[in-house]
Amino acid sequence: MAIGSLLIANRGEIAVRIVRAAQALGIRTVQAYSAADADSLAVRMADDGVLIGPPPAAKSYLDIGAIIAAAKEKGVDAIHPGYGFLAENADFAEAVADAGMIFVGPDADAIRLLGDKVAAREVARKAGVPTVPGSEGRVAGLDEARALVEEIGFPVMIKAAAGGGGRGIRIVQDFEAFEKQFPQAASEARAAFGDGGLYVEKVIGNARHIEVQILGDGENVIHCFERECSLQRRRQKVWEEAPAFGLSPSVRKALTESAVALAKSVRYRGAGTVEYLYDADAQAFYFIEVNTRIQVEHPVTEMITGIDLVAEMIRIAGGEKLSIAQEDVRIKGHAIECRINAEDPARNFLPSPGQVSGLSVPNGDGIRFDTMLYDGYVVPPFYDSLLGKMIVHGPDRASAIWRMEEVLGALAIGGIKTTVPLHLAIAANPDVIAGAFHTKYLENWLAGAPLSETATETENVR
């Protein structure tokens, strides 16, 4: 069934992006909004809007019942979840389908399967995708663990099976430390989580984060090459590029083909991303996880391939086959995206909601600003701090960085603090220009407070 009308169950810049893509396809758009977003750009642009609840996300953008009720009231054919909120919630996808509407994304079973870390790793392994060397599930005891470590080599991570979010992890460098720490980790895990089960995994040092964009229609799967997203702060990507620099043609081929193999093995339908750790020294990549939705950083892929990923995922959801063949997907030039947040980088990224004034956005060839901002818009305090994404395209990486610096210098967002100064500093950083960074680089660099006002003062005192 072709989609004639679409409810957008999200907000901010991605809601604007989806409204635009849907309208270009001739689809009637209905923007779901919380009471805090009644004046949002997406609501203004959409053909219709529907209030789904009060400002806190738990009572609006995360309220499955309210969203389904709004969609039924407006009689839409489909719901687009965007990213974040309910985008990877299998229960939501199921509720949409049960209500007789189309969920723009893979079905609930695929979301559930790929959203489970252990199950997804198993899917990857079966599809021949390299996973981080380590135990398949829990290690039975010290003897088994020792044998495993002899095989995979140090350094290794001892992880509590019941841990999560970085808790219950120890990194050990040699056998002496391993023999001592393993039993300690087991009793600590038993005390902390009521479960002494442990995993052992190799530590991939100085790894980069590289991910492959995939599109599938349930039968066919193609990739749209990869993105480099190693510059992160608190596990949030800050600066993204496409393609990844420094990949040999054979590594790129193996990487992208592995993502396609994984997606094909589950008959993937929709847009998705397979994330990897990349060890540049060993030229080896390892599966991390699959994201079953459109990603924030999808525009860099669109800029280098010319493919409209959001339009493509809506078409696929409407029952169409992929409109692009793999051999037609080619890399042209280099693209970079900077996530511009309402945070003060000089004051430890303190959130800065409030009214925007004096907005001035540069435009021209190879410049794209995906945003929900308009002059006079009041950035609400209730949601994430993303204001927009500045995306530039150039013939090569060096010219893209140079263009980003120029464009950010010309971008004016008044009234609130933004992370533009951070991005200007990144664009001028010699290690970034040289491509010499990994996933911990940005936090290590920021620990030296390169943007802090107090840092300059301290230097002056000295």
Partner: protein, 80 residues
């Protein structure tokens, strides 16, 4: 007896508990010492503690957990 008000220092979402599974920082009727944390405010996905600036007796919250709050809005009252 005078009334002591505790105001939200910033806009966001108001929480009475440090985490969803935890008991509230203060129950209605509790006494509060200066510096006691009484609430959290979530601003753009980051959490900020709200502490009482002065002591008071028998605190009474004026908002429900997870309500939206404006900067300067009174979140609780106590007897001074």
């Amino acid at each position: 007896m005078s009334k002591v008000e505790i105001k939200a220092p910033m806009p966001g979402v108001f929480y009475r508990k440090p985490s969803p599974e935890s008991p509230p920082f203060k129950a209605d009727g509790d006494d509060v010492a200066a510096g006691d944390v009484v609430a959290l405010i979530e601003v753009m996905k980051s959490f900020h503690e709200v502490a009482a600036l002065e002591p008071g007796k028998s605190i009474r919250f004026l908002l429900e957990d997870a309500d939206a709050v404006m900067a300067g809005q009174v979140i609780a009252e106590m007897e001074g």
